[in-house]
């Protein structure tokens, strides 16, 4: 339409007409005019083939990105991710094609994995398959995990929440209030986040010189003599509060409760728990920033963001 070669259009389109290669202003304008009229846009797939760059970031989650249930743990992460992707001028690809079979998780590497369609990808999930991680590493697929991950055949790039200091601070606060026997209720393993919380708890009680017990369920709690309990998840905290109430115990007078983390399961409670705030939005945002950095300069960034303590009303001096 402009009477020029495909090469010329490409040069004009990519603004390369200024440097080494020269295109006369008349020709350039003619081409630009046609581009405007037709709304021509270079096929991104073809472009990708040449450039090895898409400006598409993948977002992988093991569960639905938009869960039907109202309680939505991932939401704030995604807010941050979208925010930063927008700043970076990138599109987000949700791997919905990794179909979730009845009761099964999505798989990063399925038969027809489409992960490589994206330049790189952000991983979201409480736990992530070890095998998936090590394969991502060995295949050299650029990615950043939201949440700290243990090594998987090599260091994993991540941006996580810095639980241990937050835990230590909470333990210290409880100790300062006079608590001498504390309990941690929860698995304390499985997910890195759980392990980190328990670790912080253990370090905290050691540093404060108080007694600390780890219970995997709330069953033994009321016979343990603990005056403050650290619940691994918000839901656990709510459950404990409920049991305490039925036993006629007042929170926090008879029992202080510290609830860790954000609601991962639907919780209906309006208790203002003491604990900390996971900087979810910031983590999502930072993950995309780091992914961009990895794509440009490589490397294996690992960052931890501080958790802000939440005063709450469930932590008080023991009776």
């Amino acid at each position: 339409m402009a009477g020029v070669s495909q090469t010329t259009v490409s040069l004009v389109l990519n603004g390369r007409a200024e440097g080494e290669v020269r295109i006369s202003p008349e020709t350039r304008d003619r081409v630009l005019q046609v581009i405007r009229e037709t709304g021509y846009v270079a096929d991104p797939a073809a472009r990708r083939l040449v450039e090895r760059r898409n400006r598409i970031y993948g977002v992988f989650t093991y569960e639905a990105v938009f869960p039907a249930e109202s309680a939505d743990f991932y939401r704030p992460f995604l807010v941050g991710i979208e925010e930063c992707a927008e700043e970076a001028g990138c599109d987000l690809l949700l791997f919905t094609s990794a179909k979730v079979e009845q009761g099964e998780r999505r798989r990063i590497f399925s038969a027809e994995s489409r992960i490589r369609l994206a330049d790189g990808c952000v991983l979201l999930g409480r736990t992530i398959d070890r095998d998936d991680l090590s394969r991502l590493l060995s295949e050299g697929i650029p990615f950043v995990s939201v949440g700290r991950r243990d090594d998987a055949g090599g260091p994993v790039p991540y941006v996580g929440a810095d639980y241990p200091p937050a835990m230590r601070a909470l333990v210290e606060r409880a100790a300062a209030l006079g608590h001498r026997r504390m309990a941690y209720v929860g698995a304390g393993q499985g997910a890195e986040s759980y392990a980190d919380r328990l670790r912080g708890f253990t370090e905290g009680v050691a540093a404060a010189g108080v007694e600390g017990v780890h219970l995997t369920s709330a069953d033994g709690l009321f016979g343990s003599g603990a005056t403050v309990v650290f619940a691994e998840e918000l839901a656990d905290g709510a459950a404990i509060a409920e049991v305490a109430r039925t036993r006629g115990l007042d929170v926090p007078r008879d029992l202080s409760i510290v609830a860790l983390g954000a609601p991962t399961r639907p919780v209906s409670t309006d208790i203002d728990f003491a604990g900390f705030r996971i900087p979810r939005r910031e983590m999502g945002h930072r993950a995309v920033e780091l992914l961009t950095q990895v794509l440009e300069r490589g490397g294996t960034p690992q960052e931890l963001l501080a958790c802000e303590l939440v005063e709450g009303s469930t932590l008080a001096p023991p009776a």
Copy 2:
């Protein structure tokens, strides 16, 4: 690695070894073995170049898909969209690269619109630029709008909510309760959804043989003599209820309120309004189904889904 040509790998990979083209079982197994070992996956971009198909559906929204605010009108649509994309084995591409400048909306066709990267796309938004729509049509980009749209240089494919029948039913219900003078408060134009609601209202009062007035704001409401008011949006309904309360009016004894639609702006109300439920999730789901259909067979589907009436507690016989 398998000692065969690229062609053979392609044939094996795509299971074409069964029909016309034949590959010996030994060769096939050898290739599959190497594929398993290496985790080889065909480059989706290159594939797209050949196939003219991506299995990527775009999702365009004028605002952020994951809004930071809690009130989230779009969420249920997206739940349905993701749900259906998963069933269809497609990935979703969020056009976050269409950067939102300070106070501006995203643009479907920006300088470097990446809309054509997807096979087709789903449009979400209360209103959608007329020019954008007609350009989508004229460029032959497959898309389906969530929400009915007026023609834009041609019929627009959509799946919308069927407001008029719901409105007529509500008016009829009010009339049956004894209301003789009804008011519609809201723009009644701008967005197709508003126009449809007002139209249904107008048709309804005509059919019921009662008086109906259209007020663009709630100002004249209390002098209008209306005993029931239809608020265009939930937020309007909440505002009207609040004003009524300060005037010492009881809802629904002195004034019945019907609130239309779902919360598009943050609303904090626990009033159980009479009205209808927009089948948002179903609309999102159906939009993706229709998009698939358009991609396969073409056409311009237009569908309206019924709104379920909500009884509520704000509609009662007039005093």
